[in-house]
Symmetry: C2
Subunit: 258 residues, 2 copies
């Protein structure tokens, strides 16, 4: 078989995490990777296709922009047409926004240089029914100046052991956070964080910790201390998954744009 | 029993219509009215309570702002507290934003002087997964100037027989449309229509007809003719319910505010 019949396809996609057991395929449970691989198998005459994502997201976490790749062999579907072909098979809580052929060396995980997440908080009385899947309620009257003074402490390169789930499998827990800030958007208070990579539950633990410290009258020095101690028990609880979106994945040459 | 123990309570509420068979209670099927009446019964020691809404919405149609009233007898729940009390019992696809005691003469349906609906259209390639429940895809490249010239024909007082479902039970089909226009909002093209009242499926048939006429190169004269002929078969198909939100209900004294 000639290599000309093999194409590497990049997908830009989104999903509503509510009804998924996260991104990664499992023996049981509905997963994003599992649903897309099933659809790809249909489009490749029953051949198993492996989908590689930029990273995993947990059960309940959404993605408004996620990137993945797969190798397509002996398919007649034009590269740009995989979008429609997949969308016509996939359930509506996964939508492919774009498909295209990329260089065979492209790797959705290894080549990603930056990930951006957003976490949506809202007051209970402002949360309308159509916002419930995509935001988390908080009764706190947040002073964004104080929140951002604390969030600023998270930026830079740190060992984020205190903010990682106990079961996080990464040996090296140093990550670089480029920016971390709160802002208002309509009825929401949004936490936006951009970094080279994230540990398991890291964003949700950042949000939970910042809220807990705010409620307890803490400040930047508390965040600094939690980081330095490298002790998960000092950080706050992980915020619920529903408010979290993977919002952007950035690759080498695109970096300058963001 | 003294009448002092009876209070008329107004609810401002929202719902995600996706998993409901519409507003109105039925023998079978999950309805918004049914779910709230069940919760009210729990809060009134098993007594049946009737909830009166400003109007019905169809299966799949959402409300970001709907109004309803009920009479509360012998309850110790403070009027403003019905919001939290109901929200703690109700499923998350119904959210009460506000509860308050109103004059015993208040009637959620009869006193409403204006209803506002919004319909969200989006290009397939722009529809991310978390938008699928709340928008309808259209591949048409809409020229909003042309769309609004047609929409303008719907304003004023007309017999809307051509835009009502065949089974609409209203004898008098004259309704007054105060405004009807398209605008862009982020990735969406939104149709906003305000009127004193609406017939069954009227908004969705307006949207379906305007899109069909646009696609066929029609203009304001076609809309005028469809109205004049009072013949449902001349209008277009009803647009799908998912993109439609009841967005506002306005009462007498508030009218000047909108």
């Amino acid at each position: 078989m000639s290599s000309a019949s093999i194409r590497k396809i990049r997908l830009d996609l989104s999903y509503d995490g509510t009804d998924f057991e996260g991104w990664q395929i499992q023996k049981e449970g509905r997963t994003v990777q599992g649903e897309i691989e099933k659809a790809l198998k249909t489009l490749h005459k029953g051949k198993d296709i492996t989908l590689v994502g930029s990273g995993r997201t947990d059960s309940g976490v959404h993605a408004s922009f996620q990137v993945a790749h797969f190798e397509s062999e002996n398919s007649t579907v034009p590269s740009e047409r995989f979008r429609q072909a997949l969308n016509s098979i996939l359930p509506r809580d996964i939508r492919i926004m774009k498909s295209r052929e990329v260089d065979p060396s492209f790797h959705a995980r290894y080549d990603a240089v930056m990930r951006v997440y957003r976490y949506y908080l809202i007051k209970p009385e402002d949360q309308k029914a159509h916002m419930c899947r995509y935001s988390t309620t908080s009764v706190l009257d947040l002073d964004l100046k104080k929140m951002n003074e604390m969030a600023m402490e998270l930026t830079g390169s740190h060992d984020f052991t205190s903010f990682a789930a106990a079961r996080d499998p990464n040996e090296n827990k140093v990550r670089t956070i480029h920016s971390a800030r709160f802002y208002r958007e309509g009825p929401y208070t949004v936490f936006r964080v951009a970094g080279n990579a994230f540990l398991w539950r890291m964003v949700r633990t950042m949000v939970g910790t910042l809220l807990q410290q705010y409620e307890n009258g803490g400040g930047p020095e508390n965040i600094r201390e939690i980081l330095e101690k490298k002790d998960r028990t000092l950080a706050g609880p992980s915020a619920r998954p529903y408010g979290l979106f993977l919002d952007k994945v950035i690759y080498g040459s695109e970096k300058a744009l963001y």
